[in-house]
């Protein structure tokens, strides 16, 4: 049953991906002109001789002599073969441009998510069980501050403080000398040393809102009769809390898993630019600005695939967690 469900969900993803690829392509096509027009115009403006022959060749090679539909087909059929297209800006395949950055993006996102959970869960539980205490107000204030202060501002503050008070530069995800170096222990050490600031900055908002939602959900659940039943059995209040209301309040949390990855990747772009992180975000912004359409399109496709996978994972987790969904999911009234 579970297997057939997953297969069905995977099959549904195919038309969804097709539609999102159309949307993404349409958005890419919306601004007038293309990369080559911009390139030639810029070259002429600066008085340089554009390599017109090369441009013509590239245009032909990448389908710019065809109509939009032809170009779309060119791009999509490439995607199907695992060819993510060519980045004109960097003059190398999009896959190689993204390469390392994808791994770093995932690393930053993963550590941020873990950081958010580790901080938010105890605080949310404490806030809910000690509602209206001074500590609850204080923690709530901190959480709201995390939500309210924009990431990039927080990043700037961090950079300023680190620079003025400690005299160090905190930008980037590693020491510049490791940038294009192969992976080594020293590089890993350097990454870990740089990681905490982006994690703290990007995670602040997520932590704040997770605290708020966990507190609200838990407060709802704590009023429920089954909590009283658990305590009437003689269960220790903390064990009762973990086994019953906390488990119930996890539903909202699990159903959010699908949104976490895309929101962190896309929400952190400004921060990534400010902190000059070697993640996908700044690359995407740049590609969009220079109309490097295959690079931008492929990154966007990848993100939408990630969110679909995330939603699938959260749906399966939700069904595993909650028997009501498992057994009653199909009933209609």
């Amino acid at each position: 049953m579970l297997l057939s469900y997953i297969v069905r969900r995977l099959l549904i993803m195919i038309p969804t991906l097709i539609v999102s690829s159309m949307l993404i392509f349409a958005v890419m096509e919306l601004p007038p002109g293309n990369y080559f027009d911009t390139y030639v115009a810029e070259a002429q403006a600066s008085g340089e001789q554009a390599e017109l022959g090369r441009v013509e060749f590239m245009k032909k090679e990448y389908g710019f002599d065809k109509g939009p539909i032809g170009r779309y087909w060119f791009w999509v059929s490439g995607l199907l073969h695992g060819d993510f297209g060519y980045s004109f800006e960097y003059q190398m395949p999009a896959r190689d441009v993204v390469g390392d950055r994808l791994f770093l993006t995932m690393l930053v996102s993963f550590v941020t998510v873990i950081f958010t959970w580790v901080i938010a869960f105890p605080i949310g539980i404490y806030s809910a069980t000690h509602q209206y205490s001074w500590a609850d107000y204080g923690l709530t204030f901190l959480g709201l501050l995390g939500i309210a202060v924009p990431h990039f501002l927080l990043a700037l503050i961090f950079m300023y403080v680190a620079n003025v008070w400690f005299g160090t530069s905190v930008g980037g995800l590693m020491d510049p000398k490791y940038l294009n170096a192969p992976m080594s222990w020293d590089k890993v050490r350097s990454i870990l040393q740089h990681l905490w600031i982006p994690v703290l900055v990007i995670g602040a908002g997520g932590t704040g809102s997770l605290i708020r939602r966990l507190r609200a959900n838990l407060l709802d659940e704590l009023q429920k009769q089954y909590v009283v039943t658990a305590r009437a059995k003689g269960l220790h209040p903390f064990r009762a809390l973990v086994k019953y209301p906390l488990r119930m309040s996890l539903n909202f949390f699990v159903s959010d898993i699908g949104d976490i990855l895309p929101s962190i990747v896309s929400g952190a772009e400004l921060t990534a630019i400010v902190l000059s992180l070697q993640t996908v975000g700044p690359l995407l912004v740049h590609a969009l600005r220079s109309q490097d359409m295959y690079l931008a399109g492929s990154i966007l496709m990848f993100l939408s695939f990630l969110s679909m996978l995330g939603v699938l994972v959260s749906d399966i987790a939700l069904a595993a967690l909650d028997p009501r969904i498992r057994f009653q999911g199909g009933s209609t009234k």
């Binding site: 658990a230 220790h236 009933s331």
Partner: protein, 644 residues
């Protein structure tokens, strides 16, 4: 902490298991950051519970009866605290010791060992009392493992044995069931198993059967009696239902506004009620043997002003012979549900919620519709109101001159019809938007139908239901349950309808408030010439309100009769079972627990052959027993079989 038992002046056998002495409980009103004002809800209550006996604690909601039980269990809400007095628990297993529960740390190890181990508790709503994401077996076993830890396999065996004891026919399968897979009765049985698996000395049952159907209630009450004999525990039964008290209790304690009014044996209390409060409570409870025109006496007269509006209407309805107002022919509605496992598509199965139902309501009468939950009575009322479209059948509405096919109405004529028929809901909290003032609540139906909603008109409505028009600018949360139900009634009256569907209008209310609302509905019917379709699972309430009663089981109306006729001579086996299961607040008419069986009353295979359709629905017809008494039976059935 431990008190010498000899000084407390215990009487002879049976020994006391619990003694509450001058108990005072207060709630903090404003508890923002420590500054608190206190509200005393229990004011020096004293009573005792003898071992192995049942003591009923009777009172209205807000009287403090549940708070006392919470204090005994150490489960008071955080804002509540015991401010005085003692709760002495004398465990028969430890004859020498006596513990003052009020002095124990609420969540300390000593109290937790007693809670669930020596004192068990069950609650009103078995569905919400069980965790929806844990199996029943897991939750029951948890109680066992907390107090008498055993190996897993043994624990499971013990849990299954307990499930069998409380009446699960398949304990192995029941262990792995979730609460939402069980019926209401089985859920409460599972709760009993959880509370009793450690064989406690005291069971506290807080309104254990209030949320259950009358036949299920009888089963659960019988089960509690049987288990009490088996385990030898005492029961503290908290209820507002005097019928349950008369059938279950050995001793009764009556509480009112946090003070004990009266206490004694059940014989003393029912035969010689001394305190006026108890007398009033007995008078406010509807009974079957009430005379025509006899009124319930509500505890507090609400200042409802008798209405003198629309006299012309009364004359035109009462002058001629009652004519048919609305009638339904062969209504049928099937709901489709998918049953299946893991997120998959199970088989779609059709469940007929309303199955070939015909009925007719005359102008000015009150037709009662009775049946257990899930029998289709609410669906039927929704079809009559055109809120649900039936799969087949016809509804005819007749406003004196012309007949209307209700199901064919569309557009403007349908809007016009809607104002003829209004609804009063069961839940007075959920049916009023908390974001609207009473004024806008009452104006809304008028606005929808484009009528001038002058303030005078709304004020008249308020007076008609006995509310002060000055309350118009308040929000629903500042009203009590009974007052909210009055607002709901006023809203239903706003459009001057001909017929009002009352869907369980008093089942969420206390006995005393219930009497007020029922009397109000009766007065409104008389003054305004209203017609009611009155739906309830409470036979006594329907008996008080209705002229004729229709009994519904499994989507079909099995019996229709004038109310006295139905109570005097029920013909259908289902009606008989329903009537037999009603607990009377009368010591001379106690429930016959020996006749209560586990089987569902609406299971046709237990009915005599004359009432079974055996797969052929058409074989059953409404048989006329004379005097407006009809019963659904086989056409060729011997009239003597049908006669009670």
């Amino acid at each position: 902490m431990f008190v010498d038992t000899h000084g407390s002046g215990f009487g002879p056998a049976p020994p006391e298991i619990l003694r509450v002495e001058d108990l005072r409980i207060a709630f903090a009103l404003h508890h923002v950051l420590g500054s608190a004002r206190h509200n005393e809800v229990v004011k020096g209550a004293s009573f005792r519970i003898p071992a192995g006996r049942t003591v009923a604690l009777v009172g209205e909601s807000g009287s403090g009866k549940s708070v006392i039980s919470q204090a005994i269990m150490g489960l008071l809400p955080r804002v509540g605290a015991v401010t005085g007095g003692r709760i002495l628990f004398h465990d028969p297993a430890k004859p020498k010791a006596c513990v003052d529960l009020a002095a124990l740390m609420r969540d300390g190890p000593e109290f937790r060992a007693l809670r669930g181990g020596r004192i068990g508790m069950i609650f009103q709503e078995p569905m919400s009392s069980l965790s929806p994401v844990h199996t029943v077996g897991d939750q029951i076993e948890e109680a066992l493992q907390l107090h008498q830890p055993v190996a897993r396999a043994e624990a499971r065996a013990k849990t299954e044995a307990m499930l069998r004891l409380v009446g699960f026919r398949d304990p192995q399968g029941g262990y792995d069931k979730y609460a939402f897979e069980l019926s209401g009765g089985l859920r409460q049985r599972a709760m009993l198993a959880m509370a009793l698996i450690c064989r406690p000395a005291l069971l506290i049952a807080d309104e254990p059967t209030t949320a259950l159907d009358v036949t299920i209630q009888a089963q659960v009450l019988k089960l509690m009696k049987d288990l009490q004999r088996e385990i030898g525990m005492a029961i503290l039964l908290i209820t507002h239902d005097l019928g349950v008290v008369a059938n279950m209790a050995d001793e009764v304690v009556v509480i009112y506004h946090g003070e004990i009014m009266e206490a004694g044996t059940v014989e003393d209390i029912f035969r010689r009620p001394a305190h006026p409060y108890l007398k009033a409570l007995l008078k406010a409870t509807p009974r079957f043997d009430m005379d025509e025109g006899e009124r319930l006496v509500s505890l507090r007269e609400s200042g409802s002003m008798p209405m003198a509006r629309k006299p012309e209407r009364i004359s035109d309805t009462r002058a001629n012979v009652p004519a048919m107002l609305i009638s339904a022919q062969s209504l049928r509605k099937v709901y489709h549900a998918r049953r299946g496992g893991w997120l998959g598509r199970g088989k779609a199965i059709g469940i007929p919620a309303v199955d070939d139902v015909s009925l007719e309501i005359k102008r000015g009468e009150c037709l009662g519709l009775v049946g257990e939950s899930g029998c289709g009575k609410t669906t039927l009322s929704k079809i009559m109101m055109r809120a649900v479209t039936p799969d087949q059948g016809a509804i005819t509405y007749c406003d004196g001159s012309e007949k209307t096919d209700v199901l064919a109405l569309k557009g403007q004529p349908l809007r016009q019809f809607r104002r003829r028929m209004q609804l009063i809901f069961q839940d007075p909290v959920g049916s009023l938007s908390p974001r609207m003032t009473v004024l806008s609540l009452l104006r809304e139906p008028l606005d929808i139908h484009g009528e001038a909603a002058g303030k005078q008109r709304v004020k008249d409505l308020m007076r008609a239901v006995g509310l002060d028009p000055r309350f118009l600018n308040r929000y629903p949360h500042s009203f009590s349950g009974g007052q909210r139900q009055r607002i709901g009634i006023a809203r239903a009256l706003a459009l001057d309808p001909d017929i009002i569907v009352c869907d369980e209008p008093v089942s969420a209310l206390d006995v005393s408030v219930q009497a007020q609302i029922l009397n109000l509905l009766k007065d409104l019917q008389r003054d305004r010439g209203l017609t009611y379709l009155f739906i309830s699972h409470n036979l006594a309430v329907v008996g008080y309100m209705a002229d004729r009663i229709a009994v519904m089981a499994r989507g079909r109306i099995v019996e229709t009769a004038p109310r006295h006729e139905l109570f005097r001579g029920p013909a259908h086996p289902y009606t008989k079972r329903l009537l037999n299961a009603v607990p009377f607040a009368d010591l001379d008419h106690r429930l016959d627990f020996s006749s209560v069986t586990l089987a569902s009353a609406s299971d046709p295979s237990l009915w005599p052959p004359a009432f079974r359709d055996d797969g052929n629905r058409a074989s059953l017809k409404d048989i006329d027993l004379g005097g407006g008494h009809y019963v659904l039976a086989r056409e060729n059935a011997d009239a003597r079989d049908l006669r009670p």
